[in-house]
């Protein structure tokens, strides 16, 4: 059983009086421990697919199973708990809380995951230390550079030791070196924890580090294959 299973998945949206399928006929299984890349140009449906897997959007047709459970069977509260405790998010523009320090950005995520105050503080510090970014912990997010924000965002996603990481274009606004470092950080986390990651990107160079590649075009799965890292 895969960590994420998609069967006949489709999502239709309404634009004015017109209906448009932004995802259609997607079948895929992402196994535990895999780093799966969602490849495709802008507008191909990568982000939409991530939001469906995160349970933020219900599919119009088909089934989505995460950790062996059908998302359609879960209530809102269960979906929220699943996102908080078992999934780590890295957003396209990192989306840190500007008025918080680096540590506090990670701590809030840990508190949502059920950690106590002291436990969250300790776990945040450990994560920053493990990732070699301890100096960013006490600094206010609004005072950080682009690259620093990105590293804090990764630390926040990994702090609660999630079983699944959903990363939306995490390298899009970074230089190639910084982007490679993000993927390397995720990769090493997966190796150590056995967790799964789904990373949307339009950067084909990342294929080399992936275990599986899902290529989307116009909302359809154009190609699904083992990555070169498999």
């Amino acid at each position: 059983m895969g960590t994420v299973e998609l069967a006949g998945l489709g999502k239709m949206i309404k634009e004015g009086n017109e209906e448009r399928w932004i995802l259609r006929g997607i079948d895929a299984v992402i196994e535990k421990g895999e780093l799966a890349l969602l490849l495709g140009p802008s507008g191909s449906g990568k982000t939409s697919l991530l939001t469906v897997i995160a349970g933020l959007v219900a599919p119009s047709e088909g089934r989505v199973s995460v950790f062996g459970r059908l998302l359609s069977d879960l209530r809102d509260r269960e979906l929220q708990a699943m996102r908080a405790r078992r999934i780590g998010f890295i957003f396209q523009n990192f989306l840190l809380i500007d008025s918080f320090s680096g540590y506090q950005n990670a701590e809030i995520s840990l508190r949502f995951a059920g950690f106590g105050r002291a436990e969250a503080e300790r776990a945040a510090r450990e994560t920053f230390s493990d990732l070699g970014i301890g100096s960013l912990g006490p600094r206010k997010a609004s005072d950080m550079s682009h690259g620093e924000r990105q590293r804090v965002a990764v630390a926040r996603a990994l702090a609660a030791s999630p079983e699944l990481i959903l990363a939306d274009e995490p390298t899009a606004s970074l230089e190639s070196g910084q982007g490679a470092r993000v993927i390397e950080t995720i990769h090493s986390y997966l190796r150590g924890s056995g967790a799964t990651a789904i990373v949307s990107t339009h950067d084909g160079r990342l294929v080399a580090r992936s275990d599986r590649v899902l290529e989307l075009k116009d909302g359809r799965l154009n190609h699904c294959a083992a990555g070169r890292g498999a």
């Binding site: 996102r83 989306l95 840190l96």
Partner: protein, 368 residues
């Protein structure tokens, strides 16, 4: 956990000042109300009568006229169980102060009688003859009058021989002259307004009042407590509604301002709340930040209002001495509670906006 809604010190200070100003308004109005209540009946309370006797259908001296005769007082004085009975004639009198005219509540009394005169003298002495007057100290301070000076009242020059305290009813102040002088002003020598009487010691006051009632059914008899209540109610019927409406308007304005400020700060933090939702914030977590913000602002604002009340009262007293104010812990507690409640209710109204923030927005790159 740090509350992002409290991260803007300027906004925080502004909101606390707004809440503080509204708390101050409510506290001040209530203290004025309290001061009026107390000042209006201080004369009655301090006179120390067991029974107050007025014309039938008259229940108070604040907004009611009672016309009696000195003969009535003589009859009451002669009644069994009555130790003393002091006649008083209360009239509104115009005082000429240069080009200005001021109105006084002139009490004509018999200086030799134990009641009816100024309840306490801050300076000087009681009037000894018809050419003398005792003024309320607040009236004297306001018009820069002192013992030894003269004041012209209804065409007669009277020498100020004393200043009384406990005789300021805010809208008007008492002054004291001899009964004869007051009767001369109205032109009816035998006229009085009411009689303040005391019973002999050991007498059952209730039974004594009943006995007087049966003796003079054409007059109204009130125990001291009843008479104070009647006058307070009369004062309240005019002032309470007025002050209550202003207080309600203050609370309403505060609610609107707070709803706007809370809504604004929620909208400003939309991005951060969306991130929290996407990260899996429990359902009540973000609304609890808004409510916590309101609780902090409401408490700090109420505290600021309380702190400002004392200097404001002092300034107002210096500017307008007749405006007496009173303040008790209960009032402070009630106003603080009301301000806190208004803040919390406003935050709950503003927090309804949060339901229109969606975690999905985090994936749409709304920022940077």
């Amino acid at each position: 956990m740090k509350n992002p809604l409290l991260s803007n010190p300027g906004r925080l200070a502004l909101t606390i000042m707004v809440v503080g100003a509204c708390a101050l308004l409510m506290l001040f109005l209530w203290s004025v109300y309290q001061g009026v209540n107390e000042g209006a009946v201080d004369y009655i309370r301090r006179t120390g009568a067991d029974v107050w006797i007025l014309q039938r259908n008259s229940t108070n001296i604040i907004r009611g006229s009672s016309i009696m005769s000195t003969r009535d007082c003589g009859e009451i004085r002669g009644a069994d169980k009555v130790e003393s009975a002091s006649p008083v004639l209360l009239i509104f009198a115009s005082a000429s102060l240069g080009a200005r005219e001021c109105t006084l509540f002139l009490a004509g009394y018999v200086p030799e009688e134990p009641m009816g005169g100024p309840p306490a003298l801050e300076a000087g002495r009681a009037p000894a003859d018809d050419s003398e007057i005792v003024l309320d100290r607040v009236f004297a301070r306001k018009h820069r009058l002192a013992v030894g000076q003269k004041i012209r009242i209804q065409g007669a020059d009277l020498r100020i021989v004393g200043l009384s305290s406990g005789t300021n009813a805010m809208v008007i102040q008492y002054a004291f002259v001899t009964l004869r002088r007051a009767q001369a002003f109205v032109g009816f020598p035998g006229l009085i307004s009411f009689v303040a009487a005391r019973f002999r010691s050991g007498v059952d006051k209730g039974a004594a009042i009943e006995a007087l009632r049966s003796q003079r059914p054409d007059l109204n008899f009130f125990s001291d407590g009843e008479f104070i209540r009647n006058n307070v109610l009369e004062m309240q019927s005019g002032f309470l509604a007025f002050l209550f409406i202003i207080s309600l308007m203050g609370a309403g304005v505060l609610s609107i301002i707070l709803i706007l400020l809370f809504s604004l700060s929620i909208l400003e933090k939309r991005r951060e709340f969306v991130i929290m939702k996407a990260l899996g914030a429990p359902r009540g977590f973000i609304p609890s930040l808004v409510v916590a913000q309101a609780a902090i602002l409401g408490s700090a604002g109420a505290a600021l209002g309380i702190m400002l009340l004392f200097p404001v009262r002092a300034i107002v007293r210096a500017w307008s001495p007749e405006l007496e104010t009173g303040m008790y812990l209960l009032q402070i507690a009630v106003v603080s509670g009301a301000v806190l409640a208004v803040s919390l209710i406003s935050s709950v109204v503003a927090a309804r906006r949060l339901s229109r923030f969606y975690a999905l927005e985090a994936f749409r790159g709304r920022e940077e």
